[in-house]
Amino acid sequence: QQQVRQSPQSLTVWEGETAILNCSYEDSTFNYFPWYQQFPGEGPALLISIRSVSDKKEDGRFTIFFNKREKKLSLHITDSQPGDSATYFCAAGTGGYKVVFGSGTRLLVSP
């Protein structure tokens, strides 16, 4: 049973476009949602995160939109750059010692 779902599995955008990555979850006790970026041969690295008390979090070109009622989030990457090509993971936590990850979205930004 997958608690955190991501779509699409892979996404290709042109340089300069906005990439939209989607995430949904089932457990209403989740209250913290980090997004991680992973490049080949490296471990995931925290990109941006949001708590369930907020509906939007912005950090430069990266924005999380959060809809608590529908249990959905999306990560928007504006002005996408080839260096943004990576796998992005949506994750969820409850403040305990367990963080659940989605299956990832592989993003390719073509120049």
């Binding site: 980090p34 991680y36 471990g43 690295a45 403040g95 963080v99 990850f101 990832g104 592989r106």
Partner: protein
């Protein structure tokens, strides 16, 4: 800047052998984790330790055993590896029960 160190980077072994992976963090965190990442990049938590105490122990085969000597170290031993153990094993650390994790680069295990 790397602050979670894993060794080895790669390990190739045969079915039935025992392997050990090491992890050390220099962030001063008190919680450490082991995650397994399979060939489809799915990340699944295996164990988490807080102050050397086992906190989370997911349903993993008994041949897997974590070992913590202090807050900064969390090793993983696999007693008798199986082909399905081939994966990347990622170590991470965090502060308390805060859910922000800092990952190492991983150890890639290939079981022949």
């Amino acid at each position: 800047e790397t602050a979670v160190f894993q060794t080895p980077n790669y390990h190739v072994t045969q079915v039935g052998n025992e392997v050990s992976f090491n992890c050390k963090q220099t962030l001063g965190h008190d919680t450490m984790y082991w995650y397994k990442q399979d060939s489809k990049k799915l990340l699944k938590i295996m164990f988490s330790y807080n102050n050397k105490q086992l906190i989370v122990n997911e349903t993993v085969p008994r041949r897997f055993s974590p070992q913590s000597s202090d807050k900064a170290h969390l090793n993983l031993r696999i007693k008798s590896v199986e082909p399905e153990d081939s994966a990347v094993y990622l170590c991470a650390s965090g502060r308390g029960s805060q859910n922000t994790l800092y990952f190492g680069a991983g150890t890639r295990l290939s079981v022949l």
